[in-house]
């Protein structure tokens, strides 16, 4: 039973059955609550709005003191700079965006291919020390990246994976597999094992039963899981900054962070790059909003 944010909305208020007698002074309080929520919403959203605003401001207005909230000139120059180099051709940032697409995409596909069958096996079969195995799997995901990156760095240096997309893809796959297994196990648990048993009575093998009957039912879950894995890889920064260095390999997060390295910072460009970088994440997150609770807790909490 998956109660989601979307559904939670339609279930109506929790406390709408309060008898009128107890609503004494309820109206004033309700107004106060709405006002409080509005203020909180503005505070939470202001940085995002400010980022968007800065990305379309002319440089003069970006650095204006006091800050200009409304009366500024709109320009798309910063967005142009994100994609095109000043002398023409592609900018380093746009290359890094492409790298991000490749690295996040391939690692997500790999994590899905490895994780979904494992999740199915953990859900269906009696595995020795299953609890311990699942604990082990989740704890690899909780390791501090800064700690893991030290031996990974040495390891990659040894085998020549430093500063390669393959190296990043491998480590991202490894950190998305635990998530995929935990998240997908929840989805597999929701599909009755009896479907497979019935198929096997009809003469299918267990594998065929999985492939033909369970897998199609899991597709929405797989899509949601893959979207989360995609977001995690897309946003990842620590491994990216330590394991890659050249412009042709670097993904977007370290490339955007690199924009503030010099003495003067072009904040308009930083803002535009951030907007371009964040937009797909927000769109994807909106698509999987029903599974957000499970997704952000790495598949551990599900309702």
């Amino acid at each position: 039973m998956a109660v989601s944010v979307g559904e939670a909305v339609s279930t109506g208020p929790v406390r709408d059955h309060t008898p009128p007698a107890r609503r004494f002074g309820g109206r004033g309080r309700s107004v106060l609550e709405v006002a409080l929520l509005a203020v909180l919403a503005v505070v939470m959203l202001f940085p995002v709005l400010w980022m968007i605003e800065t990305s379309i401001k002319e440089n003069r207005d970006v650095y204006a003191i006091p800050a200009k909230f409304f009366d500024f000139k709109v320009t798309m120059d910063h967005f142009k700079d994100v994609f095109f180099a000043s002398g023409g051709g592609r900018s380093a940032l746009s290359v890094s965006f492409l790298n991000s697409v490749v690295v996040a995409g391939v690692s997500t596909v790999l994590a899905t291919v490895l994780g979904v069958p494992a999740a199915w096996a953990y859900s269906r079969f009696a595995v020795k020390a299953k609890k311990d195995q699942l604990f082990f799997i989740l704890s690899t995901r909780f390791m501090p990246p800064v700690v893991v990156v030290i031996p990974i760095f040495l390891m990659y240096r040894q085998v020549g994976l430093i500063d390669t997309k393959l190296g990043l893809i491998l480590i991202y796959t490894a950190f998305n597999v635990p998530f995929t297994i935990w998240m997908m196990k929840g989805f597999v648990d929701e599909v009755p094992a009896e479907y497979e048993d019935a198929a096997m009575l009809d003469g299918y093998t267990r594998l065929q039963a999985f492939w033909r009957f369970t897998l199609p039912l899991l597709l929405p879950g797989i899509a949601a899981t893959a979207v989360f894995a995609l977001i995690f890889s897309w946003n990842e920064f620590v491994f990216a900054i330590f394991l890659t260095s050249s412009d042709t390999v670097r993904t977007a997060p370290p490339a955007i962070a690199g924009l503030i390295g010099g003495t003067t910072v072009d904040w308009g460009l930083v803002a535009a790059a951030s907007v371009v970088f964040a937009l797909p994440v927000l769109v994807f997150a909106y698509l999987v909003r029903k599974h957000l609770v499970a997704g952000v807790t790495l598949g551990a909490v599900r309702r």
Binding site: A8, A67, F125, F136, V147, R303
Partner: protein
Amino acid sequence: MSDPVSLTTEHPGQVASATPPAPGRSSRLSDRWLTVAFTSPALLLLLAMSVFPLLWALYLSFTDYSATRGGPAHFVGFENYTAILTSAQVHQRALTTLIYVVGAVTLQTVLGFAIAYLISRRTHGRGLLTTLFLVPMMLSPVVVGLFWRFMLDAQFGVINSMLGSLGLEQVEWLTRQRTALISLIVVDTWQWTPFIMLIALAGLTAVPKYLYEAAAIDRASEWFRFRTITLPLVWPLLLIAVLFRAIEAFRLFDLVYILTSGGPGVSTETLSFHVYKVAFLGFNTGTASAYGILMVLVVLVLTQLYLRYLNKLKED
């Protein structure tokens, strides 16, 4: 709807035992083969990319190896560990990390729960509100860090600009010892309050209505209802969220790196950031490995705690 929360953990009853053996083949044997075939690729990858590196780090933690100096590693016993555990520097970083974790997670929990409670009392626009509040959480820490760095800039930052127009004093947020750590806590709170809110909201909407109705019949006061119905039912789920955030905050690195780089001085250097400095700027790979292993131990304890509460939640 009535059972509050169900989790994804163990379902031991789902072993396919009721299946009659298919003619001509042992389904049990093939099941075991399938299990191995389906789980081992994932496990092998984790062994290669997580366990092996950690074992290597464990080995290095007993040596004086330096990644830049090269040369053979000499066995030094527990020297690295004693050096770290007795180092005043590390103690200070541990204190900074503690202040940061406790401060940020407490703020997030209070704010997140408050927002969730307010949203759960609304009839209209709950979906829209929830979606809007969730935006910060989905952003990359890089984007969040950069943007707050811009907004908190002492000269042309919008925060100081607003303070100025209110006639208040300007603050050098990221370049003063005390305000830098506070800024870090505020930014983390801004990003992760939605996380607590999301999970608290999930708990709040799962509280069965009839409990409130019964309480209303008994003319129980609002505070009494909150204390005896809402809080006890939401608390277990909230605790999971809090522990999860604590683990994440403990291993935080990217936000510190972008926002303050540990400065000014060492006032915002968390343990994660210090490990990075020892490993990549100090080049004491052996010491850094020991440092890392100790951090891993802390994370393992926290993860164990997290899973214990998760199992408890499932059983209730």
